[in-house]
Symmetry: D2
Subunit: 323 residues, 4 copies
């Protein structure tokens, strides 16, 4: 349920407004010096503190992709499996305290459910719910994935494998130079917008992937579709390929044949819907329930921006199972 992978087995835990989120990563070889800078950088990207490729534009447009971004950064506390920064081969446990947890912001949700969120289904499934924010369903848990993903990336790098994801579309906009502007426009309206991320995998050895159920594309889809707000996955010619006949010159395979990598670059895309808790929607939902309109709600104008490091992390965790 909360464990991903078997060779590198990653168990995630934590609610968004509980004591901490974190994880246990088991199967990491001994002797790896953890790259703390990489983790710092990737966590900052996920937190919306810095945005891959968008930094300058953001300062101009005053886009704030995360309400939490202004706060102090996520600090990783290592509990086990590491001695003087070097992995021991034993399970690596870490946690990130929820310093910014303000359960009181969510007190009003104790007896209501947010539209488009998992609040209601969680309560139906478990009969109980951590109403303080998204609880377990919050995207905050992806921070733990990013930490684990960084170790997976380090391991992949030693084999010459490189994972790079980037935003290629925001709403209808496909020119990266205009992404920040587009997002800012939605934010000004108290609205949000979706995005498409493209991920490139280079250096993957021929033969990666396991017939027949654990095809490389199936494992990548599984990993990526487990990220909050992801609505679709495609590789190679994808959905648009439906109109191309079998005789077309360019049989773009996306680097995979029969579920196994063929040694060329792997390319896949995934789509992220806009966060459903927009100011507009909230106003409408809570209008009759709140006497005082002072709702302090924190949501993102474009979660796809912050999903980029998470897509890389999950891709790395999926790939490392095969090596």
């Amino acid at each position: 349920m909360n464990t991903f992978g078997s060779k590198w087995s990653f168990t995630s835990f934590g609610e968004s407004h509980g004591a901490a989120i974190g994880g246990v990563l088991d199967g990491v070889p001994a002797g790896i010096t953890i790259d703390m800078n990489l983790i710092r950088t990737e966590l900052d990207k996920r937190a919306g503190r810095t945005i891959h490729g968008l930094e300058q534009d953001l300062s101009k447009t005053q886009v704030r992709v995360s309400a939490r971004a202004k706060n102090e950064p996520d600090e990783v506390e290592w509990l086990s499996g590491v001695l003087n920064g070097v992995t021991l081969g034993t399970p690596i446990a870490f946690l990130i305290r929820n310093k910014d947890a303000r359960p009181e912001d969510y007190e009003y949700l104790k007896h209501t459910y947010r539209v488009g969120h998992a609040d209601k289904v969680y309560e139906q499934k478990y009969g109980i719910r951590d109403y303080r924010g998204g609880g377990r369903a919050s995207a905050r848990e992806t921070a733990a994935r990013v930490v684990a993903g960084c170790l997976a990336k380090q391991e992949l790098a030693t084999k010459g494998v490189c994972v790079n994801a980037r935003l290629i579309q925001v709403g209808a906009e496909t020119d990266p130079a205009k992404f920040a502007e587009t997002i800012a426009a939605y934010q000004r309206e108290g609205d949000s917008i979706g995005g498409i991320i493209e991920c490139h995998i280079n250096g993957l050895p021929v033969g990666t992937g396991e017939p027949i159920f654990n095809k490389l594309q199936a494992e990548l889809a599984f990993a990526v579709m487990s990220i909050n707000a992801c609505k679709g996955f495609e590789y190679g010619t994808g959905f648009e390929g439906v109109t191309q006949p079998g005789s077309a010159i360019n049989h773009l395979s996306g680097g995979i044949a029969g579920g196994i990598s063929d040694g060329s670059e792997i390319i896949f895309r995934c789509v992220f819907k806009p966060t459903p808790t927009t100011k507009k929607a909230l106003d409408e939902l809570l209008n009759s329930q709140m006497v005082n309109g002072q709702i302090v709600h924190r949501s993102d104008p474009c979660v796809a921006v912050r999903a980029v490091p998470v897509v890389e992390a999950m891709t790395a965790l999926a790939l490392v199972q095969f090596l």
Copy 2:
């Protein structure tokens, strides 16, 4: 590798031109009377002997969606787990003999690789390859999935869960009335074309799916992306939803929130590329290698047609893990 699921654990085996394909399905409750007619019907659909919704048109247009379809039907031999047609609660093993296996048709492939097929990567991965047809990479193994899927469907039916997939697009054509005609046109050219399948799941209880890695959509994507020729998966608003703002009235969730079913209908789509071994491509590939042009090759003008029962089978196998 060749096992799908844990509660209902399905292990598939067999090469396309070996003695047999088959599977072992473990975890099926005792006391189920196997619906042999359902299996017969679904296997015929997969074999291209009958085509869901296209039967009449096919007779007119002379479409033959499978070169094997003219042959005798696949016969399931039950090896264990069944007594007088009723399941015993022990592992159900079955096989389907490869009666129509004609390895000699593929003798010419012993020293060459088919474009767009897994021939080459299999040899690179394993150092050995069953050159007789696709071997393990052949879509023939999906027959075993269909058999297992039928038992899963029976179990789902007892809980009121129903899985229905259908072809919604062939090439650029979205009018089902014209699918047969479209396919026939490609076939006449010795060409092939892709298709999109839409799958509807009804009656699924609220709360199906497991946060956070085994989200319902992640498990469905994993199951469906493991089918040969599948290039993409999306649910709810999917890729097109990228242009819809968060404030849009219709927050089509596809029946899933936070990775858990919300009790409404689940809808997903998946795309199948055309079979790459077209007559055109083969002519070109083998031109200089064959003295005599009498290549007897069997391939399908639109594998998406035959993938419909396989999508249903894999969906059923994915869902039954949660019940």
Copy 3:
């Protein structure tokens, strides 16, 4: 449930008096030439056709350790994963037909349960039972384990690892020269007796075993305790070591420290109870139920004899997971 191991994943199927027993072995590397003679030899040992180390004595004492032993030998039919006797890297499926199945011998059991057998608990658990002999609970399924174990042994041999089990005690007798005689004495009385098997593993690389739950001894115990009639497992000093103080010179570790092999020989022992369906017990049980005393029942005077190749097979399957 019916699958053992993850790297070499062995799925067993079959009831003792159904069509066949067999298995699927997934994860075996490509390119191994299967040693059919080894399989023949080990299956014969398991069937009681030949007895490791006891052959000559048996001919003198007229011991027949298996009523089935006089019949034709088990024939393995290979369904997949093998081309010209060489493994393909794809799942290896095989079956052994139940040629000697005589369900009519067991017709009288349709409405009764054998003492000390699993008949009753199976019916309680599943609500249905294959009353024809032991069904799934029969030790006949161990034949499939032996086949899979032979492939595991071949793989281990390439790494220099050797597994050898032998009977070290029959009843109170510890002199191998007198085992056949002892067994014969019990058989003449229509009775049966237990035995202890000792297994030696040589050549295992230092570091085999995974802390903390998958300790080498835990995996070996799990593998061996899953064999029918096995009632105990111990390694190193075992139960007798309870009286040795920590300061004793000989800290016999059994080749394992902290759950990891230390490079020396591994030694473990396991005990097998006598088969509970003795002629004596049956006479008593069925006295009032049978008009005609002609009960044709087939049972073994000392199952430990036939368990030797099964212990080796399960040990090999357990070890191969770690390599």
Copy 4:
């Protein structure tokens, strides 16, 4: 590797002298009020602070079963999965700080290995070792098992299942009234001694256990043999049963038939060797290496005493997988 179970999946982490040990328990139903007193009691037993059934004798004999026992008790910090003491259905993460960690006590081990410990094999396996005490191989990690086991026990109790383990033998002594005295005698000599624990399971529903590899006895053996210092497992007639003929009146099955519980009491026994780091052995080992004899080493005269709650915990964790 460090995860036990699938339905209730328990992942353990931590080195004995690192920041903390702990675990993540996934699959626990929502709505359980955690019994903090039970956890306190069981942790104290494991720490040797109180000894089940031996309390009074101990005060008289001045037995100190653990050098750490005099210190402050283990404190459990709950990180996730619990809201106001009630489980949320999400993964429960907890940690226990190593307050008493005194790495300097073990500084002398940086370049030597303790006899009978896993020091050397860990270094051989991983190429690196946490030389501060046993590290991951230390029995300290069993504290995390005890915490998880308490939750399993609570769940079992709701189904009427009860697990009770007790020491039945210390060295050659089988009279519980003399256990404390026996242990004290060995301790005075700077020596240690082994013990046998018997565990009774009551209330287990008929049909618990899964043929054929996951037989109840195989799962119990796997769980118990994973505990440090455990050298053997047996149930029912066990090793002594080897001398009983099949016709013996008392076919003591130990409550299991065909790998499935039969509804009666389950009884098994397991043996624990003495801790190998005795004062005697250390004196000998270090004689030539230490100038100053002031070795401060902490070890237990009879680890079997402290293993009792761990055996119960692992048994409970094994059983809860089946319910």
